[in-house]
Subunit: 245 residues, 2 copies
């Protein structure tokens, strides 16, 4: 060793994550990174190789600090069904409190860099970690009766993975609470063990507290008739989309 670093590696990595998260890989310039990270261009190259190397290391850090951290924390402390619902509740909360519309970093990376040879198939693996968490938890919940067994744990996990990702996509362009919460609530209803998916009162209180944001109220018969009326009258008109608020 000779002259020591004047910056903390993980601190500047967090700054790089901020840049890549907000702007994407291509739209983030070395000058952007240099300014936000508080180090000069050559220091950046000396420490991380090049822009792409910095990007890869940013992704790795994000995964460990955010996605895997969440899975570890919830899976280690909660019953299986509660862990899955809490995971959804956290993602819904994040999606609805994102004024800068940055979305999910992993999702942004997945779409912008799906053909990045350095990422290869590893993005699929990262999403697979979420799916695997769902599958483990659902299988355990089915074993103890807290999750319905009408469908396989594998299929339920696949469906929940789809909803989680779709949820973050939509929240990026339309962060409407009824839309996002309705989406999550309806997907999670597939886990309900009771034949009637509408009564969930027998669950532990702390589940309600943690996941209450995504559970919401019961659907009424009045609403059913209103929805049906929308189409039976004025059949097949030009779509006038509802943006859910």
């Amino acid at each position: 060793m000779a002259r020591p670093r004047e910056f903390d590696d993980t601190a500047v990595l967090d700054a790089a994550i901020d840049c890549f998260w907000a702007e994407g890989f291509a739209a983030t310039s070395i000058r952007d990174l240099s300014e936000r990270m508080g180090i000069s261009g050559p220091s950046l190259y000396n420490a991380f190789g090049d822009k792409h190397g910095l990007f890869i290391q940013s992704i790795e850090r994000y995964l460990d600090q955010t996605m895997r951290e969440r899975i570890r924390r919830l899976e280690g402390a909660m019953a299986p069904a509660a862990a899955v619902r809490a995971f959804f509740a956290e993602v819904v909360k994040r999606a609805l409190s994102d004024p800068e519309r940055r979305g999910c970093f992993l999702l942004n990376v997945a779409l912008e860099r799906s053909n990045d040879p350095a990422l290869g198939g590893s993005i699929a693996g990262y999403l697979g970690e979420i799916e695997a968490f769902f599958r483990r938890s659902i299988a355990a919940g089915q074993a103890d009766g807290s999750i319905a067994s009408h469908q396989s744990a594998a299929d339920l996990a696949r469906m929940l993975l789809g909803v989680i990702l779709g949820l973050r996509v939509i929240a990026r362009v339309n962060p409407s609470r009824p839309l996002i919460e309705g989406m999550a609530r309806t997907a999670l209803a597939a886990l309900d063990p009771a034949a009637s998916a509408r009564r969930r009162a027998k669950e532990p209180v702390w589940v309600m507290a943690t996941a209450s944001a995504v559970i919401g109220g019961a659907w009424s018969r009045r609403a059913a008739r209103r929805d049906a009326g929308r189409i039976t009258s004025g059949a097949r008109r030009r779509p006038s989309p509802s943006n859910d608020g």
Copy 2:
């Protein structure tokens, strides 16, 4: 009028869609567009204003030719429940036959350009058109009994919108047939009116033919025990994601 155009506007627009679809807006250069469209740079600027104007017109054409066309075609010719299932079947088929991994153009645009002032909130509106198609169809299906009424048409539509989008995200990085079909099948199971979601034999034959790709086989009790075993043994180990093939 004086000298006439030497090219067909819609034909070159289709070529532009190809470019933007494959590479995104930022990564597509005027030279790329000029070459693929078969016209020179100044002709492009003369006809479409600038790169961004061409992009906007490409999106409009894509929506009319692809997304809205599909909704019109299915909603006009099928029973409500069948239209929704056929919509999923078509999207699944597209997602699984995409060797270049281009994904869904609208979805790519939504994520890359979510803050584009010219697109404004209109992307939310485009996704809302899909949601509205789902909602209309589901409400009609609930009215005639072909779709379950346990959850509101609005919520079911929201959930299906999430799955459709999540499906295309995952297919982009992991186009695995079991994964994508399992995801779609499980989401669509929420529409099943019967208490037992596993028997669907009473549906019209043509529904099975159109949507068979996403329906698949019934889940077995053997698989249930296998899935449960995965977690009850070796509890809480480091995620070893399954990429579903």
